[in-house]
């Protein structure tokens, strides 16, 4: 196997944008501070220099305007990629996303499509102050017409971004801020499963941990810790929240008969509750215990000094696994 340089997840996103812009002249990248600065997380670093200010550019500071501008550009043959600087700063764009981006194809019976990629740095664990750490995936996943992905690995960051940009439909790419600087040695040419596919990240036989985005490393770490204690945990990385891969997730759960969903968003009316419902509906007779969840509390995202109390931890995951009715009383 050829040697590959270790790159960060941010670099993988950047490379995906660069390759997509090289491959297709209609791809435009815009938002706030994405030009000269290269984005506050440097994901668009160097793109303006390489492709010019007409292809990668800063806009006025107005998220609804950015999103609506993308709608118009897409109506007229462009393939916009927009950056919402932080999860909680994307809310002004919410009406444009829900009322137009998500509905345009359906509204026009396919006459107008919206090949728009909405990049949203999401979730916490970075010591960010208020409005910088929301997990807003449920809002988008609940909106018919949107595709929603949350990569957890460097290789997936590249693959899912390329697929998002190539998609004829709008895709929300939730970029896990906490993992931007995670590094991996990856062959970007290696074909990864596409949007709509979950993958088993770790084989295991006793219980299945189901996670996405920032929670995947927690689940893997928990599986390592459990292995040391003699318990074999399987880890499924959801990757694609919409479309959801019922087949892979349910096959995994059926193989172990026990499951815990791990996600840092508040648990009430969330993606994690949807996963529990789907798994329970489809795998009930294979389950030895109710499906458990480890999620954030139903609270506004905490200040940096308290966020560790809110976020799923390895211990909480292991504690949840311990409650999966291992022994008949």
């Amino acid at each position: 196997m050829a040697e590959h340089e270790k790159i960060t997840m941010a670099q993988a996103f950047n490379q995906a944008l660069r390759d997509a812009m090289t491959a297709d002249e209609s791809v435009l990248m815009f938002g706030e501070d994405v030009g000269a600065l290269g984005g506050v997380f440097r994901v668009t670093d160097g793109l303006t220099a390489e492709f010019g200010g007409a292809r990668c550019f800063d806009t006025p500071l107005a998220e609804s305007g950015i999103m609506g501008f993308a709608v118009g550009l897409a109506m007229n043959g462009m393939r916009p990629v927009v950056e919402m600087q932080f999860d909680a700063f994307a809310y002004p764009a919410f009406e444009q996303i829900v009322s137009h981006v998500a509905k345009m194809r359906n509204r026009t019976r396919g006459a107008l499509s919206m090949p728009i990629t909405i990049r949203i740095p999401y979730a916490g664990g970075i010591g960010g102050v208020e409005h910088h750490c929301d997990s807003s995936e449920a809002y988008y996943a609940h909106t018919p017409g949107l595709t929603v992905v949350a990569p957890a690995t460097v290789a997936d960051a590249y693959t899912l971004m390329r697929e998002a940009i190539a998609s004829p439909d709008p895709v929300v790419v939730l970029e896990p801020k906490k993992l931007y600087w995670s590094k991996d040695e990856v062959d970007l040419d290696e074909v990864q499963p596409g949007i709509g596919r979950a993958v088993v990240r770790r084989e295991g036989t006793d219980a299945t941990l189901i996670a996405y985005g920032t929670s995947v490393p927690i689940a893997l770490e928990a599986a390592d810790a459990a292995a040391a204690e003699g318990r074999s945990l399987q880890v499924v990385d959801v990757r694609s929240i919409v479309p959801f891969d019922d087949e892979t997730v349910c096959a995994a759960v059926r193989s172990t008969g026990r499951a815990v969903v791990v996600a840092e968003a508040p648990g009430f009316a969330s993606v994690s509750s949807e996963i529990v419902a789907r798994v329970t509906e489809r795998c009930f007779h294979h389950l030895a215990a109710p499906v458990r969840r480890v999620t954030g509390f139903d609270i506004p995202y905490p200040p940096p000094k308290l966020e560790h109390l809110h976020l799923p931890s390895v211990d909480r995951v292991l504690d949840a696994v311990d409650t999966l009715q291992w022994d008949d009383v």
């Binding site: 806009t59 609804s64 305007g65 609506g68 118009g72 109506m75 462009m78 444009q96 595709t147």
Partner: protein
């Protein structure tokens, strides 16, 4: 450019007074006889569309109709000043503009009939879907215009909204984006005095809506919205400026919504009859008819021809809307994504099965 160059004129531009007499304005070109005849024909057709749609609501063939009765001069001028390669971004009240642009009347009314959301292919006549969330379409118009600029295409976008929409955040963002990117967009505000029941005084205390343009660094102009000659002239100049690279501008037309917001509204709860009566004498059709008749351009023969054309459009509307087209349940799932998700395929199959069992029983 000094900011006073962006300021609208002291009074709304008027080229035909209430009695159809020509008003001299050295800054504005008076439309040709041919253009005014064409506009008058469109006015008569537009009025007939509004009347026919109103009747179709009463007959239960349209779910709802937000009428532009009394605002037809704005409606027809917005379409007439555009070329084929241009785009029109209408609101829900702009059915007459859409049909004026060449869209099939029955396809235009699909939304209000309730068969589907948008009944026409927006790319065919370059007419965006009608938008009901206010002002949201204005920023789309800027995106369409900017895409054309990037490709070096000669396209101008007419972005329409009403007075109420100027209070929305997207109105601000759209005008600001257009100005910053120097997009070839004409923002056309029909100030008809009311946003459903709320009068203009509750939307703004600005000297006029056209004055708002100054804050974005673009020219604003106001025009008598019931004077089709003035509208053709002012909107025509704005389109020409956008086409020649001068960037966006804002045009406010002073007009009046003669009927209720929609058939579901009761305008007597918030405005007085004498206010409405005062506007009846300012009807845009009376004005163009008086001018053209006075110039002996509107012969009996021509009047009959125009009436026949209007009746033909009304017949198309009646015939089309009287037909019951059975909606296809499968369409509910077909266009949510380019390729339906496994979950939507499951749900489509569920519905198909449920419907097939209903037919059997």
């Amino acid at each position: 450019m000094p900011s006073h160059d962006f300021l609208p004129s002291e009074q709304p531009v008027q080229l035909l007074d209430q009695d159809g007499r020509r008003v001299e304005d050295p800054k504005r070109a008076f439309p040709s006889d041919e253009d005014l005849l064409r506009a008058h024909e469109a006015l008569v057709v537009g009025r007939r569309i509004n009347e026919q749609a109103y009747a179709l609501v009463r007959q239960g063939r349209l779910a709802v109709y937000p009428s532009s009765y009394g605002q037809e001069a704005c409606e027809v001028a917005a379409a007439l000043v555009l070329d084929d390669q241009d785009w029109l971004f209408p609101t829900y009240r702009d059915v007459v503009s859409i049909i004026g642009r060449g869209v099939d009347p029955v396809e235009t009314l699909t939304l209000l009939k309730g068969d589907w959301h948008c009944g026409y292919d927006p790319t065919e006549h370059r007419v965006a879907p009608q938008t009901t969330p206010l002002a949201t379409q204005l920023i789309h118009a800027v995106g369409v215009a900017h895409a054309a600029t990037l490709r070096g295409e000669d396209t101008v976008v007419m972005a329409m909204c009403g007075d109420g929409a100027t209070s929305e955040g997207d109105f601000h963002e759209a005008l600001n984006f257009a100005a910053v990117f120097k997009a070839p967009v004409v923002f056309f505000v029909q100030n008809n005095e009311y946003a459903i029941s709320v009068p203009l005084a509750r939307q703004t205390v600005a000297p006029s809506l056209a004055h708002k343009a100054v804050g974005y660094g673009m020219p604003g102009e106001r025009v008598d919205g019931n004077d089709v000659a003035a509208l053709l002239s002012v909107l025509g100049d704005a389109v020409h400026a956008a086409r020649s690279g001068a960037g966006p501008s804002l045009v406010e037309a002073h007009t009046y919504r003669m009927q209720a917001h929609t058939n579901a509204d009761d305008a007597t709860r918030y405005r007085q009859d004498d206010e409405v009566a005062a506007w009846q004498g300012r009807d845009p059709l009376l004005r163009s008819k008086a001018y053209l008749t006075g110039r002996e351009l509107l012969t009996d023969e021509r009047t009959a021809e125009i009436a026949a054309k209007a009746e033909a459009v009304a017949t198309v509307m009646r015939d089309g809307l009287m037909q019951d087209v059975e909606p296809v349940p499968g369409d509910l799932f077909e266009h949510v994504h380019a390729t339906p998700t496994p979950q939507l395929r499951e749900q489509a199959a569920f519905l198909a099965d449920e419907l097939s069992r209903e037919k059997v029983s």
